[in-house]
Symmetry: C2
Subunit: 401 residues, 2 copies
């Protein structure tokens, strides 16, 4: 891979890797009838340059390379970079460069606010936004380039290393949150960036979700697989101060963002001997992951994976506990990469088709009254031969002492 | 204060506190010519109910109480609560309750995406959004109720307690990020919720910013007071692995969200003896805070505070170092509460006027080449007599050993 010339080059990816990603974006734009677009969402800016800045990227297949309109920071360099204070400066700069900016310019209408979308549209002489770039960006990002897969594998290795330290962190008498804090610490020491990037503005989580006992059965306001009451009504998710008890599993689902690309991994831990019911539910979760990973062949409808998982849960008599108990999550897996909720979605009515290069977190989990949450989660890279897990901690319920 | 009947009541604030907040919102809506609104932003939902849920609150002064349209979670109760799967169900439910939903319904156009805003408008029979609720919500939230001030004071106490443990966390040979991780841990053990709530979608920070040495002079893509290179280009802010050296200050600005309401506090620490220049800059920062706190009398234009701070920096010969060096932040303070970037803004062209009940973080900071970032930050509640700080750690440069 050709690297950027300097660490201050606005394109940190190098020309080849950027072209590879742009080719995916342009293909998706073409099928949506879009010729030009203005990118402004931080996650998409990171996708297209390998760095985060505040500003805009103007992309069009008609151009040899993207043009950058940067508000902050003020110390970057590179071809096609213009410093701007406001988006109204962009169209005149394009015109000065001989680029006809009058064509409809697609915007990220699913993530940029109404007020700003309108302002950007008007800055390009449109009365209102005319084309939505967001679905094209989601489609493009759903298939990871080899370089992206490399970063995901690296996150998986470090995520797994951090998890290998978890059994040594437990001390008798700990609450879920005390245990979680020690897991956060070793994750951070292992290099976890901490940031839990979620697309959209209606899911919030700090650094992960640690659940034990009855708390796992608290319905969630968020679209996460598992809930938990949390420590405060302002962030009602996860650990709530429940004492960790012998025999009761502790489900650990902590941030795997070590490289800008996240892996998602869940494991269950237990002090003392796990209940037989917990062991069986965990084995079922492992079996579902194995089955679905084998089914993750390019061309497979994502909903077939969900249906298979639901069927296995049902055949095991666990349908009522599958993906929750008092409330149920509507999916068993999701794409993951720069954000935690990428395509494809492994859900009953998903229209996504599995493709080589998808990166998919599978999390067939169960909530058992009296025991809490049980199950595992792995992140898989889809190959022609099926899904290959990059999160490789032991899959059984792991002893804490 | 009357509390909610049950911990599952959708309104956790109790009727009186909710009415107090609604009165502020309605006043702001009235001056914007708005009669009814649909609230969907999580921070605003938290403001109006004391809890977070996914869904919508329909508010109108014509109604005795708000109506709640909840998507998730599924276990809440309370008067006026309807479970919905999509926003299109709301208008028919209002009609069934005899409420004319045909009037323009204001939406949070500065935070809700273009796509969703359009969908919500159409669900109310409008062709496009007609009224923007966001400025009214910002105005309402800028003045905190006594109960909100109580939560902020409580965060301040716990934030200060966590900071009192910082000097004991340092070990020789630590890097900035190693030091930060230990600060994160003691903050979390003290009850910090971790979540760093930022309004808008173009600032990201994990749990705080710890800066030492030359790293403080790295320009930031974000609109924070200070920058830092960060550990990875995907989140270019804060600690970058710089070794902490004797005599070089370490600026600690770590999350103060202990109650759903945040305090913002910065202190500088040093191993060994601080350079004279650092001591002087820190004293100047303390002096500016004191001066501005005394000026924080209701009726004072926010820009006068900024002008005074800039003048003091200039008179001390520190204009080039004020709020950065290679790049400068354009403000010296900001409102804080549920989010880190509330009103008023203490900036040169701010039109905000200081009001009693504002909660303002002041952060007159300096970046000195060779030494790094120096200065303090406190969070003040505005009273008739001026600002009263709720962040009470010692203000001098604090010894680490």
């Amino acid at each position: 891979m050709k690297k950027a010339e300097s660490p201050l080059d606005i394109n940190l990816l190098g020309a080849d890797e950027q072209s590879r990603r742009l080719a995916r974006v342009y293909a998706a734009m073409r099928s949506g009838g879009m010729e030009a677009a203005l990118v402004r969402d931080l996650a998409n800016i990171y996708y297209l340059t390998g760095r985060v800045f505040r500003g805009f990227i103007y992309i069009s297949e008609a151009l040899a390379a993207p043009l950058y309109f940067v508000r902050q920071p003020n110390h970057l360099c590179g071809e096609g970079l213009h410093m701007v204070r406001k988006p109204e400066e962009i169209a005149p700069l394009l015109a000065a460069a001989g680029i006809d900016a009058a064509r409809p310019v697609a915007l990220e209408l699913d993530s940029v606010s109404y007020s700003e979308s309108l302002r950007l549209a008007r800055a390009f002489g449109m009365e209102a936004p005319e084309a939505n770039l967001s679905p094209a960006m989601r489609t493009a990002r759903a298939v990871k380039t080899p370089r992206e897969q490399e970063l995901i594998r690296e996150s998986g290795v470090r995520h797994t290393l951090a998890y290998s330290r978890i059994p040594h962190l437990y001390q008798e008498g700990m609450t879920d949150i005390e245990f979680q804090i020690e897991i956060e610490r070793v994750s951070r020491l292992e290099g976890c960036l901490g940031i839990f990037r979620v697309g959209g503005d209606d899911m919030e989580l700090f650094m992960g979700n640690v659940l034990t006992g009855h708390n796992a059965d608290t319905p969630s306001p968020y679209d996460f697989a598992m809930g938990g009451r949390g420590l405060d009504p302002s962030i009602p998710v996860g650990a709530d101060g429940t004492l960790i008890k012998p025999g009761i599993p502790v489900m650990v689902d902590v941030n795997g963002d070590y490289t800008g690309y996240m892996t998602d991994m869940t494991r269950c831990f237990v002090a003392g001997e796990p209940a037989e019911e917990a062991v069986r539910a965990n084995e079922l979760s492992v079996a579902i992951c194995g089955e679905l990973a084998a089914m993750m062949i390019p061309g497979t409808p994502a909903r077939d994976l969900y249906a298979r998982a639901a069927l296995m849960a049902q055949q095991a008599g666990m349908a009522d506990n599958f993906m929750g108990h008092r409330s149920h999550a509507g999916f068993v897996g999701h794409g993951v990469g720069i954000q935690i909720n990428e395509l494809p979605v492994i859900a009953p009515r998903s229209k996504d088709i599995i493709e080589a290069g998808n990166v998919i977190a599978l999390e067939p989990k169960f909530v058992i009254p009296g025991l809490g949450a049980v199950g595992i989660e792995n992140t898989y890279i889809v190959t022609e031969q099926g899904g290959v897990s990059v999160t490789t901690a032991p899959q059984g319920i792991i002893k804490l002492d």
